[in-house]
């Protein structure tokens, strides 16, 4: 009996030893050159961004991290499922890595896909402390490609993270250079009339909210793999090849709208997890999200990867080309985004009386269309007889956008109607939102609603309970919080091992918040039931409510926060404690009792 157990243990041990990989990272002061400016920053192994860490599913990794800074540091493996004390959040996972110290992370790789790593100390991440992780699966990928590139974006700012935080605290609009001006007033007057424009300005002024408040921090240079637009990172290809692009948004604050004019992008992974492939013309990548796409350039020409920030205050640019030095044209940025009253709709206690005069003219009414003029009554008598011979390929040109106004459609399953290329209204944005994404070429823009798990990780089951998290803040004071409470004043969120919690995010602010739960997957409710995708970062747009479910399968304590660096630092952050779990991994509970609890 005893020997059998031993051999069993050994057999388990042997492959593990073969598979163990050892890696070294140093955390260093580095120079960052964006082409627009050069600054001091923080990097790994002497550069920012740090290296691509290539792991294999099933491998056990040992990563020795040496801190060459004169301050504490840490590395968080963003999106990786691992023991909580390896998660790299100072004060939650471990105390942090002291100057001069080497800390060894050790954990098993239990997943595949594209992820990233970054410092979780102070503002080291916006200062440059980030890199990418690529994990090769044990089996084959459910898609094919001939070559692959990591495409890691960031919003590199000439100011240090500390300085940006301080400036935002001093003047929340310190960096905003797309505010409404006298000139915009007059152009709005000529478009919407004088009284409408005055009413619009009064409504917003009454709330003391800015339509232009889309991005807190302007003035950055968008980088791709550490290269500014003029430095033009270039990936080579042979025409006809399939290229897998692993997009990672490592920005401190910036969402990017990404397109490659001339190429369809087939999204095959979101946040490292395989999704049912969906072809798009453009997609928006939230801060900390990753999307893997497959493109197939057939022509012997250069293609521009163009990533405009959501608020259009800056862009990143790179190139795919058959030869070094070839360049595609760089399109101009589109008009700066403007919030609408729809984006304010999540705010409690708003004076809706003053909204009666609001400018509906600015709202995107595309989803209500103007099909009202259509006569549906005669449809019964239409001739379908030559349907078989008709060319379905042209069907995409028809206008579905107005169909919601059709009578008698109630029996249809709208849930399954993705509406493909015609749908202009993304259900993950407030109806009429000024942030509603639109593809530059009028084509398909990826929505969360398009993301369906390729091979669901979890069985569907009823959640055991719901936890409401209102995303709250005060733009004028630059305070950010959850349920009106900043992290400094908050009790931890307590979950029980084995439960399935349904989180309800209600965004009561006018900013977009990419919410990141460490250690456990976020199953985003996109209305696809068992096919709901799993992610590590969930974007919640202003004025919307988003649900996600979490199988509480990781004991310990974890961070849960908005991934916008300055929102997290201002208080939109929580500690999550998972109580119970398998005995061997169960953590001591005396600290738990001391900390109190909120849920």
């Amino acid at each position: 009996m005893k020997t059998r157990l031993l051999t069993g243990l050994l057999s388990l041990l042997m492959p593990a030893m073969v598979m163990a990989g050892e890696y070294d990272l140093t955390v260093d002061r580095v120079k960052i050159d964006t082409g627009d400016f050069v600054k001091e920053g923080i990097g790994y192994n002497g550069v920012s961004p740090g290296p691509v860490m290539r792991f294999k599913e099933g491998e056990n990794v040992r990563i020795n991290v040496t801190n060459n800074l004169d301050e504490m540091t840490s590395i968080h493996w963003h999106g990786l499922i691992l023991p909580f004390d390896q998660d790299g959040v100072p004060g939650i996972s471990f105390p942090g890595i002291k100057p001069g110290e080497t800390f060894t992370y050790e954990f098993p790789i239990q997943q595949a896909g594209t992820y990233w790593f970054h410092s979780h100390s102070g503002f080291q991440e916006p200062d440059g402390a980030y890199g990418s992780i690529v994990i090769e699966p044990e089996g084959r990928e459910p898609f094919r490609y001939d070559r692959e590139y990591v495409v890691q974006l960031t919003d590199k700012h000439p100011h240090s993270g500390d300085r940006i935080m301080r400036n935002l605290k001093m003047m929340t609009d310190y960096y905003n250079r797309d505010q409404q001006t006298v000139g915009e007033f007059f152009s709005d007057v000529s478009e919407n009339g004088f009284m409408n424009t005055v009413r619009d300005r009064m409504a917003w002024g009454g709330m003391r909210m800015m339509k232009a408040d889309v991005e807190d921090v302007h003035g950055f240079t968008g980088l791709i793999n550490g290269k500014g637009p003029d430095q033009n990172w270039t990936g080579l290809f042979e025409p006809g090849e399939r290229i897998r692009l692993r997009f990672i948004n490592s920005s401190a604050m910036t969402y990017f709208d990404i397109r490659i004019p001339g190429l369809d992008m087939t999204v095959v992974q979101a946040d490292g997890n395989n999704v049912q492939p969906v072809s798009v013309d453009e997609f928006r990548i939230g801060v900390a999200e990753t999307y893997d796409v497959i493109v197939r350039p057939k022509d012997e020409q250069a293609y521009t990867i163009f990533a405009e920030s959501m608020g259009r205050s800056g862009y990143a640019r790179a190139t795919l080309a058959p030869e070094k030095g070839m360049e595609g044209s760089v399109p101009p940025m589109r008009e700066p985004a403007r919030l609408t009253m729809a984006d304010m709709s999540g705010m409690p206690g708003m004076d809706h009386g003053s909204m009666s005069g609001m400018d509906h003219g600015n709202m995107d009414m595309s989803s209500s269309g103007d099909m009202s003029g259509m006569d549906h009554s005669n449809m019964g008598s239409m001739d379908h007889s030559n349907m078989e011979g008709m060319d379905h390929s042209n069907m995409k040109d028809m206008d579905h956008s107005g169909m919601s106004g059709m009578s008698g459609m109630s029996g249809m399953d709208h849930g399954s109607m993705a509406m493909g290329t015609e749908e202009k209204s993304d259900p993950f944005y407030a109806k009429g939102s000024g942030l509603m994404p639109k593809a530059a070429n009028g084509g398909k823009f990826l929505s969360y609603a398009d993301l369906k798990a390729q091979d669901p990780l979890y069985e569907v089951r009823e959640p055991t309970r719901e936890i409401e998290l209102r995303l709250t803040g005060n733009m004028e004071r630059y305070t950010w919080s959850i349920n009106g409470v900043k992290y400094e004043d908050a009790d931890p969120i307590r979950l029980k091992y084995g439960e399935r919690v349904r989180f309800k995010f209600v965004n009561e602010t006018m900013m977009t918040h990419p919410m990141h739960l460490h250690g456990m997957w976020s199953i985003v409710d996109v209305g696809a039931g068992q096919w709901n995708p799993i992610k590590h970062t969930v974007s919640v747009q202003p004025g919307t409510t988003v649900y996600m479910e979490t199988e509480v399968d990781a004991p310990g304590q974890w961070a849960f926060h908005c991934h916008l660096s300055y929102h997290a630092a201002a208080g939109m952050f929580r500690k999550v404690i998972v109580e119970g779990g398998p005995e061997s991994t169960q953590a001591k509970t005396d600290v738990i009792a001391k900390d109190g609890g909120e849920v």
Binding site: V268, S279, H376, M379, S385, T421
Partner: protein, 177 residues
């Protein structure tokens, strides 16, 4: 089959017919021009089993000789609906837009086919059925046969045109001896 479903489908078809009126009449359902022709089971020289997974085939290439008739046994071993369709890349591209319509109208729903929708009578006994001889559309666990005669050499692939699948790499090469 509800009246409303019928109305939607009817409207769709009417509208597309209208927009189509100015277009050209190429591609579309005009299968078989360059990829071969439906074969007779009795003339099949051999049987090739093609397994469909999410989202790839096994095998990912086959070798045939010009004029050969092959009996394909296609099995869907994945969790999603997949297609096995023999054609040129251009034919596949054309067919993908039809398949997109099928998804948009709920005919293909992840791992299920809405057979009601497919066999819905559109007026003159015509339906949205996916019943061309060069292809089969299978739910998980289903298995069907395709008998095909590769009349001449050409740039031929077998492919799944469920939206996104072909782009993600769900195709196989037909190589000629």
């Amino acid at each position: 089959m509800t009246v409303s479903k019928f109305l939607v489908a009817a409207a769709t078809i009417l509208l597309s017919a209208t927009t189509f009126a100015a277009g050209t009449h190429g591609g579309g359902h005009d299968h078989g021009a360059a990829s071969g022709e439906p074969g007779k089971a009795s003339e099949a020289s051999r049987t090739i089993t093609v397994e469909m997974y999410d989202n790839y085939y096994e095998p990912e290439s086959i070798i045939v000789s010009p004029g050969e008739t092959v009996r394909f046994v296609v099995e869907n071993k994945g969790n999603l609906v997949h297609e096995f369709n023999i054609g040129t890349p251009e034919m596949h591209e054309g067919h993908q837009e039809e398949m997109m319509m099928m998804v948009e109208h709920g005919v293909i729903q992840g791992g299920k086919l809405n057979h009601d929708m497919m066999s819905m009578d559109m007026g003159n006994g015509k339906t949205m059925k996916h019943d061309d001889p060069n292809s089969v559309l299978l739910e998980p666990g289903q298995s069907k046969e395709v008998v095909w005669k590769f009349t001449e050499k050409g740039d031929i692939e077998f492919a799944c045109n469920v939206p996104g699948h072909y782009q993600a790499g769900m195709y196989g090469d037909v190589n000629f001896e």
